[in-house]
Symmetry: C2
Subunit: 188 residues, 2 copies
DNA sequence: GTCTATAGAGGGATAGAC
DNA sequence: GTCTATCCCTCTATAGAC
């Protein structure tokens, strides 16, 4: 990956986050980089390639993080804590790309689309399994696993919206309080 | 509002929800209604009008619901319960428009944009006030109000994503469990 | 109220000079 | 590696017949 290409990708991520993939033109992107649209094509094959790289990078981060969490031989409660930390970490390091994943995944095409859907399906199934384990072993309240998963993923998926508006000290507060807020209500 | 116009609006809401405002063309919308794009303009002034009507209707529903909740002389805990019920009710009755509000508000233009921003700002400030009241009176844990607000709004804003996939009985479960899940962890 | 036709602007992408 | 010029297509919206 050349320097120019990653410059294009980070700028694209920011613009896609602000206005959405479909509303950003190659001319917009080029202008934000002080160049002409035609020049972009020396670095990337097209608009779709940008979208695919941005989204699949984040999706693989989640998948790898989940593998890490699962390989650790700990309680469901600790695994859930680690997943919360994973979401915060990715939201901090890949804020804009994560926004693109959340909002524009449906504009992926062909095999990239299939790949994304597969990764997301597996991630959610793994997450559900961890919650089920927690309920089975009496670590969590005996509530509908669907409701719990919905609540956790909703909040975790929104972190990227919250982070850019906050100071480093507020983010530290979130890191400490979010696991408590999300999991202590669940604890048996 | 003629029957034809509301037919156009509900179809547009569905398409905008699926692909986003910018990716849906007037030809797409017309085709979904078995008509030609030019005919749409006998009922609406343009694409922007559709977006404005869909989003501001939902925004006013939230604003009116908040007024109701505030006018009730009850504890912060009950007010929070009522706000959760409000979000579930709107997510059920205006699922597609709510999705459009969440995803495409930034494509509003002119006074409609200003109006939306104003309504959202006031709604969030009112919500925050209720949480602060709960902390002050010792009903809620003494946590960062920002963290609490973030968690509540994240989950409440995502309900529309969850509802279309679920059966009526699962939705009943959500109505019962969500206030417990969101608020009992907060309770002092 | 719906149609065909089309204006006028702007989209992604390519060719080829430098 | 960047540019100008341009292709070809699609976009929103309008004009005017029926």
């Amino acid at each position: 990956m050349t320097q120019r290409k990653s410059q294009i990708l980070t700028t694209a991520a920011r613009l896609f986050k602000e206005r959405g993939y479909s509303a950003v033109t190659m001319r917009d992107l080029a202008a934000a980089l002080d160049m002409k649209a035609a020049s972009l094509y020396n670095h990337i094959s097209g608009k779709q390639e940008i979208l695919t790289i941005l989204i699949l990078e984040v999706a693989h981060e989640f998948t790898n993080g989940m593998k890490q969490v699962e390989s650790d031989d700990s309680t469901a409660f600790v695994k859930a804590q680690n997943l919360i930390a994973l979401h915060i970490k990715i939201a901090l390091s890949l804020t804009d790309s994560l926004a693109v994943l959340n909002n524009d995944w449906m504009h992926l095409e062909g095999v990239s689309y299939e790949e994304y859907i597969r990764l997301r399906k597996n991630y959610e199934a793994d997450f559900k399994q961890i919650i089920l384990e927690g309920i089975d072993k009496g670590e969590f309240k005996n509530m509908s696993v669907e409701t719990i998963l919905f609540n956790l993923l909703s909040t975790l998926r929104s972190i990227y919206l919250w982070i850019p508006k906050k100071s480093p000290s507020e983010i530290e507060t979130l890191k400490v309080e979010l696991p408590d807020l999300l999991l202590l209500g669940l604890k048996k």
